[in-house]
């Protein structure tokens, strides 16, 4: 087994040098990490699992990568090696990203971006890598299914002043402010995305399309009491039928309040705050404005 | 002070705080 292991590692090295990532991963996968004959220490096993995962991820192969990251999950909790632990975290986030579990991926990327140390073992953590993780967190949050959870993560990212330096900040700002994104902005955002984030879903939407349409629908629900699907399609830049389909699903999944009148082809957005509560809010806003004026008067000595 | 006047003008415009039929029913 010892000799086999050495040959496999050598071959994997050669495949890696030729950038044949999956072949290198397969070569290493052949090493029997759980063999009863030789005792391999956990750190070695963990390093191999993480290495194989990273190789599969180079080819965006989430399925095989996940198999090995799951093996690594049993080893990482006792691992004292911070470098390996960090690599494990990055692999895990990337697998979630590839599997389009965008909100979970965003939270892990964000966690990675908040690492304080700039030196872990013999690895230097540079600002650029952290910025990349932060940017990936923003991208995944924007691509996540619209709803209350996503809004919370958006608010967290928007408050993080490091985000204001990211190229993606303008779109984060608009998304957080629940503003409708127009086609030019969406196209500019699309240029920053990875292939799997623009892949087609079964319903013939791309991941980006669905995220953008859902976001714009929610944004429209803040602006409209009701809107015809004809006009909604024009606003979102999609056929009215598609707009209706996504709206119906969001209402069904309780991610948007409203009702659809198919006869009139109109969607009625519901403001889930009770009329009386809205009254309270309006009065509160009015009193706030009143106080602002009094403060202004005071500050001007009037 | 023009700024104060504009703010008061904007404030007054917020009255009445609510006026939808639905609100009238709920309020009653």
């Amino acid at each position: 087994e010892e000799q086999v292991l050495i040959i496999r590692e050598k071959l994997a090295e050669l495949y890696e040098s030729e950038q044949q990532w999956s072949k290198a991963a397969q070569m290493l996968s052949g090493i029997d990490l759980d063999s009863g004959i030789r005792m391999l220490d956990d750190t070695y096993k963990l390093s191999k699992c993480v290495q194989i995962t990273r190789l599969y991820l180079e080819d965006d192969d989430a399925v095989n990568a996940e198999a090995f990251i799951n093996k690594a999950s049993f080893l990482v909790s006792n691992s004292p090696h911070e470098v390996l632990n960090l690599q494990y975290k990055v692999c895990y986030a990337r697998i979630l990203d590839l599997k389009r579990k965008f909100l979970e991926a965003a939270l892990r990327y964000y966690d990675i971006s908040q690492i304080e140390k700039r030196q872990i073992g013999d690895e230097e953590i540079n600002e650029e890598a952290l910025e990349q993780a932060l940017s990936a967190a923003v991208t995944c949050t924007i691509l996540a299914a619209a709803g209350p959870q996503r809004s919370r993560v958006l608010a967290t990212l928007y408050k993080d002043e490091r985000c204001s330096k990211l190229k993606i900040y303008p779109i984060l700002q608009k998304v957080n402010l629940e503003r409708i994104l127009r086609k030019p902005e969406i196209d500019a955002f699309a240029e920053e995305l990875k292939a799997h984030q623009k892949a087609f879903l079964p319903d013939n939407f791309t991941v980006l399309d669905r995220a953008m349409i859902e976001h714009n629908l929610l944004s429209a629900s803040k602006l409209y009491t009701n809107i015809s699907f004809e006009e909604l399609g024009a606003l979102l830049g999609i056929p009215p039928q598609k707009a209706e389909k996504i709206a119906a699903r969001m209402i069904y999944e309780d991610r948007m309040k409203g009702s659809i009148d198919q006869v009139e082809a109109v969607i009625h957005f519901e403001d889930d705050t009770e009329e009386l509560q809205q009254w309270d809010q309006q009065i509160a806003g009015l009193c706030q404005a009143f106080n602002d004026i009094l403060d202004d008067l005071t500050s001007k000595g009037i | 002070d023009n700024s104060i006047l504009r703010q008061v003008s904007s404030l007054l415009r917020r009255l009445p705080a609510m006026e939808s039929e639905k609100f009238q029913d709920d309020f009653l």
Binding site: Y224, T225, S228, G285, D296 | N2, S9, S10
Partner: protein, 222 residues
């Protein structure tokens, strides 16, 4: 208030420039053009009240003073009615004047019909009107509200204040005093209600005690 805070520095900047000793008529005309085209400035009466602007009268730039007055108090329709004696507006100025027009319409009504808006803003279709209200009014922070396509109207919840003409002050004072009167009588009414509720609850307590005493008596007699 936010909009006032945002534009107060701009106002100070333009007022200071307009009040500068060296401000010639052409500089003042250029300043008015810059101010009326600036995307974040929606108030002009401070600039209009700078004495230096009198220099524009009787010069080839006198129409700039009319433009400033138009942006302080007028609407897009006013511009169209006087287009012959006003300079051609830049696209940024046109957009601004239309934004100011929405603020003027919102001064008197909280529900603005689409037909009225489309006529006042020279807009030919609903999509274009709604895009204007969304991008240039709600997202610009000068108005907040809901678009109702079925009733074809814009329900305004908040609109920034425009410059006030002197003749509007009486109306404002009247509205404020009647609001004060209403609030006072409302507070008074609430006080009365509270007193009534207290009295009633006292009476109920006494009544309840009497009943309890009777129950006790009956129990004893049994």
């Amino acid at each position: 208030m936010d909009i006032e805070r945002k534009q107060s520095e701009l106002i100070d900047h333009f007022v200071k420039q307009a009040a500068g000793e060296d401000a010639s008529a052409s500089n003042l005309a250029a300043l008015i053009l810059e101010a009326t085209a600036h995307p974040s400035l929606f108030a002009f009466s401070e600039i209009l009240s700078v004495p230096n602007l009198a220099k524009l009268k009787g010069t080839q730039y006198s129409s700039s003073l009319d433009v400033l007055r138009l942006f302080s108090y007028g609407t897009w329709s006013d511009y169209k009615r006087n287009v012959g004696c006003l300079p051609t507006l830049l696209p940024d100025q046109i957009r601004k004047l239309k934004q100011l027009t929405v603020l003027t319409l919102a001064e008197t009504e909280k529900v603005l019909p689409y037909d009225q808006l489309m006529e006042e803003l020279d807009v030919s279709n609903v999509r274009e009107l709604e895009d204007f209200l969304i991008n240039e009014c709600m997202y610009a922070g000068i108005a907040r509200g809901k678009l109702d396509q079925l009733r074809r109207c814009f329900e305004v919840q908040f609109a920034a204040g425009r410059d006030l003409r002197p003749e509007q002050l009486d109306n404002m004072i009247h509205t404020l005093s009647s609001w004060l009167g209403t609030s006072d009588s409302l507070l008074h009414l609430i006080q009365e209600k509270i007193k009534w509720a207290d009295t009633m609850s006292e009476a109920n307590k006494i009544h309840k005690k009497e009943i309890m005493d009777k129950v006790e008596e009956v129990k004893k007699s049994l």
